[in-house]
């Protein structure tokens, strides 16, 4: 009996260990991470530029919520821990423009792959500064954008399609050979995948707390908000029962997709379907909520699940380029 159980546990331990090592430590081509770096970097730039409107009104020392007011609100809101550090509260309306443009410059450098580890860290620090300056109005995008930037730094995403490679590549690799596959690239992409799957599970579970996502009316309550809706779908009310059925389907589809993503994305047969359905689900959510950049961020993060063959058209020209 003891021998049998010992054998079982040693087999399980060995199998889990092999699977763990294969999952995390199989070297991967940094090309996928490099393409993601460019896309996420552009998204970070657009996000930061979108903050330019009313910049001083939201983030300066004399903003709508002063740094003191933010601290008091966090304390009054029952937040026992407070690790919201931001340099933005030290700047006046006039000065904050300079640090804002510096943040955009850091994101541009990250996009171009210029001193990528440093520019990536600076981009993440800048994004965090805006979140922590007024956490009460931080949006849905920032928690996704920050982890994507950080994991792409881990993934050595500056090894391909970057100024780093153009400026410093030959010194690092005599003969100008393409960087070989790296474990860091795989670890970075795996971190994105696991974090994203957990994020989907969180989004689905929070929806299940509310009646509107169960009775199928949540999407109606989004598109009926006349101040904040980006597209007017209120004509669906004139459709009566048909409109109600369509709203119900739309609502349920979003919840079921988010619930399914966390599990089915790990299945090689279901993965392409989940990625394709994601385009439809996020397009529908973006027109209902207006969270355009958040929807794009979630779709781009899903690209970490694309198979390496998907990037063959980009890889081939590079491989055949003259050395």
């Amino acid at each position: 009996m003891t021998t049998t159980s010992d054998g079982y546990f040693s087999d399980v331990t060995a199998a889990v260990g092999r699977g763990w090592n294969r999952f995390w430590f199989t070297p991967a081509d940094p090309l996928q991470a490099a393409l993601l770096r460019i896309a996420i970097g552009l998204l970070a730039i657009v996000h930061l530029v979108s903050l330019s409107q009313d910049l001083g009104r939201w983030y300066s020392r004399e903003a709508l919520l002063s740094p003191d007011a933010v601290k008091k609100l966090l304390a009054e809101g029952g937040e026992t821990a407070n690790y919201h550090y931001s340099y933005l509260g030290n700047f006046t309306d006039a000065d904050i423009r300079y640090v804002h443009w510096a943040a955009i410059a850091a994101a541009a450098a990250f996009t171009l792959g210029l001193v990528t580890p440093i520019s990536g860290a600076l981009t993440a620090a800048a994004l965090l500064a805006y979140v922590h300056r007024v956490p009460q109005v931080a949006g849905h995008l920032e928690p996704v954008l920050v982890f994507l930037v950080l994991y792409l730094v881990v993934a050595n995403s500056g090894a391909r399609l970057s100024l780093d490679r153009r400026l410093f590549g030959r010194r690092q690799q005599p003969g100008g050979e393409l960087p070989s596959t790296s474990i860091a690239a795989n670890v970075g992409l795996r971190l994105i995948q696991v974090h994203l799957a957990m994020f989907y599970a969180m989004m689905a579970l929070t929806k299940l707390y509310g009646d509107a996502w169960w009775d199928g009316n949540a999407i109606w309550y989004l598109v009926a908000r006349t101040h904040s809706r980006p597209v007017d779908f209120s004509w669906l009310r004139g459709w009566g029962r048909s409109g109600a059925l369509l709203i119900n389907f739309w609502t349920h589809a979003i919840v079921y997709y988010e619930l399914a993503f966390a599990v089915l994305i790990w299945n090689r047969w279901a993965r392409p379907l989940m990625l394709a359905l994601g385009l439809i689900v996020w397009a529908s959510l973006v027109v209902a909520t207006g969270y355009l950049l958040f929807g794009l961020a979630m779709l781009l993060a899903s690209a970490a699940f694309l198979p390496r063959e998907f990037f063959a058209p980009v890889r081939q020209p590079q491989l055949s380029s003259p050395r």
Binding site: S66, E76, G77, H84, L128, V137, D215, N217, S228, G240
Partner: protein, 216 residues
């Protein structure tokens, strides 16, 4: 491994938290809060269809003199927040979020005068400084949404005009003024004086049979 454990715990604790989750979130906070791995109750549900999820905006009537009551001086101008901007990029959303936060704590069920006063004082002071005014009457106005397609509208709410004034409710109203000690705030009416709402969805009439399943 440890990183993913921390992330998993804070994501699993996003909306409601057990005592254990609360303790773990607090322990991990120096890491997860600082790097924004913890979305900190960001509403990834977008809406639960409650009145507190409806749109709310700030409306500020501005007056020149801080030491005189608003009723005794002419209105200089009215500022609405948000004014302009796009619903696609989040610039208007920030105003809605802050107005919703104030409306949430002005609601009799969650009333917290310290929070509402702090927001009103800070917002009022900023807008008065921008416009060189000394006094403001700050209101948070909520726009009730129409009920879902098969639910009839209550009397007085026009079907074809979802932006009609009938849908607007003043949730919070306060005088804010500047004096030598800074910005001061005085709420005009306490929530306790407001009659409790009879229906959670004010715009709904009698629901058509079989259209809405009540949750336990």
């Amino acid at each position: 491994m440890l990183h993913l454990f921390c992330v998993g715990v804070v994501l699993a604790s996003n909306f409601r938290r057990s005592l254990l989750q609360n303790e773990l979130v607090r322990i991990f906070a120096p890491y997860t809060q600082l790097l924004d791995f913890d979305p900190q109750q960001t509403p990834y549900f977008y809406t639960f269809g409650r009145p507190i999820d409806d749109d709310a905006v700030f409306v500020l009537d501005l007056y020149a003199k801080g030491e005189e009551p608003a009723a005794g001086q002419p209105l200089v101008r009215t500022v609405r927040l948000p004014a302009g901007g796009s619903n696609w990029f989040g610039d208007r959303q920030r105003y809605f979020q802050l107005a919703r936060l104030l409306a949430l704590y002005a609601d009799p069920e969650n009333e917290n005068d310290d929070i509402t006063s702090e927001i009103a004082r800070s917002v009022g002071a900023r807008i008065m400084r921008e416009s060189a005014s000394g006094r403001a009457v700050l209101r948070v106005v909520r726009r009730d949404t129409q009920p879902p397609p098969t639910v009839p509208l209550a009397a007085g709410f026009p079907e074809d005009a979802p932006t009609d004034r009938a849908y607007d409710t003043v949730i919070y109203e306060a005088d804010v003024w500047l004096d030598e000690d800074g910005a001061q705030v005085q709420r005009r009416s306490s929530a306790a004086e407001v009659a409790p709402r009879q229906n959670t969805q004010r715009t709904s009439g009698t629901a058509a049979p079989g259209t809405n399943s009540a949750q336990p």
